[in-house]
Symmetry: C2
Subunit: 197 residues, 2 copies
């Protein structure tokens, strides 16, 4: 497409032909794929390189069963069938790693992020950016993502995380199965979204 | 890279070689580029296809001057020099467009999003996802993005938006100039971010 330099096949893979999948084949998502996805998307930007996203990969049947109990009823069949399920969370204590992550400004930890409410707001914003990078990273592996916020957040936090980690979304991951999605819904036109001043 | 199907050059363009730029050349960012970026990233997923991101492109000197007054001092030179500046915001009244955006579930507007606080929370999450897609879209156009949250949020909202639109970030856009960035900072290792259960 004119105006872009990204190859059209890559545009299709990440944006135009990729879709949110509601059904999946049984083909496993390997540990190698999960690592490759993370090792790509970790480079995308966050404020002060704070990198607050944390990921719980639900691989065992036992953990899957515990997660299913907290999913909204309409999401349970998808999450039961997905080859891999990831719980994405924000680490509200990300500042502990900051001196290592931001070597040119190690004071950021104490100067900017001494207060927990400040950290929570920043972690929510930046981990959400990273969740979007992760969704596109799943697509970069040739897989489909099914991100969901329809679940019991305190339940998932208590079951899989701790008081310092806030759940953001649960993502089903795999190859699209039978009738994996509705027809593509319309998008807003450029003129409806963008104003110029 | 093993485990991914996205072409290595596209991986470099979007993730590995792209960097947050602090200086820019004077080469303009065209309207064609801005449209191409939006028309690519509009396809990436949001909950119920709610698509709450709204974008103000600051192109006139007059508007640039008004924006600069609300930027943190450390961000002012970057925002003064960037060929194009975009204010990204969440539309808390996104539900008005939902019947059109979600034709297979037009009741979503009233069933799920009748309450303003519910809309605000959902718009914040989903517009933030779209902000991440937008940053990668800027890179897909061969440009560098410089996302910033160091500005007076109420000031920018009052100056450029209204009570229904919450600012998320300001993004400088252009080609990297002289000494555009620090050396790449370290990233957390896979084992530090991902746990498997």
């Amino acid at each position: 497409m004119s105006g872009l330099v990204l190859h059209p096949l890559a545009q299709d893979l990440l944006f135009r032909e990729a879709r949110t999948a509601n059904t999946f084949t049984t083909e496993p998502v390997t540990e190698e794929q999960a690592q490759a996805i993370y090792d790509l998307v970790k480079y995308a930007p966050t404020a002060y390189n704070q990198s607050p996203l944390r990921i719980v990969l639900v691989r065992s049947d036992e953990a899957r069963g515990r997660l299913l109990r907290h999913m909204a009823e309409g999401n349970q069949p998808k999450t039961a069938a997905a080859p891999l399920v990831a719980i994405l969370a924000a680490d509200n204590e990300f500042h502990e790693e900051l001196p290592r992550l931001l070597p040119h400004f190690p004071q950021a930890k104490d100067l900017l992020f001494a207060e927990r409410p400040v950290r929570e707001e920043s972690a929510l914003l930046n981990a959400t950016l990273q969740a979007a990078y992760f969704i596109l990273g799943v697509r970069a592996a040739g897989l489909a993502a099914g991100p969901m916020t329809g679940f019991d957040f305190p339940g998932v936090q208590k079951e899989f995380l701790d008081d310092d980690h806030t759940p953001l979304m649960v993502v089903n991951i795999g190859r699209p199965g039978e009738k994996p999605w509705f027809p593509r819904s319309p998008r807003l036109a450029y003129e409806e979204v963008v104003t110029t001043v």
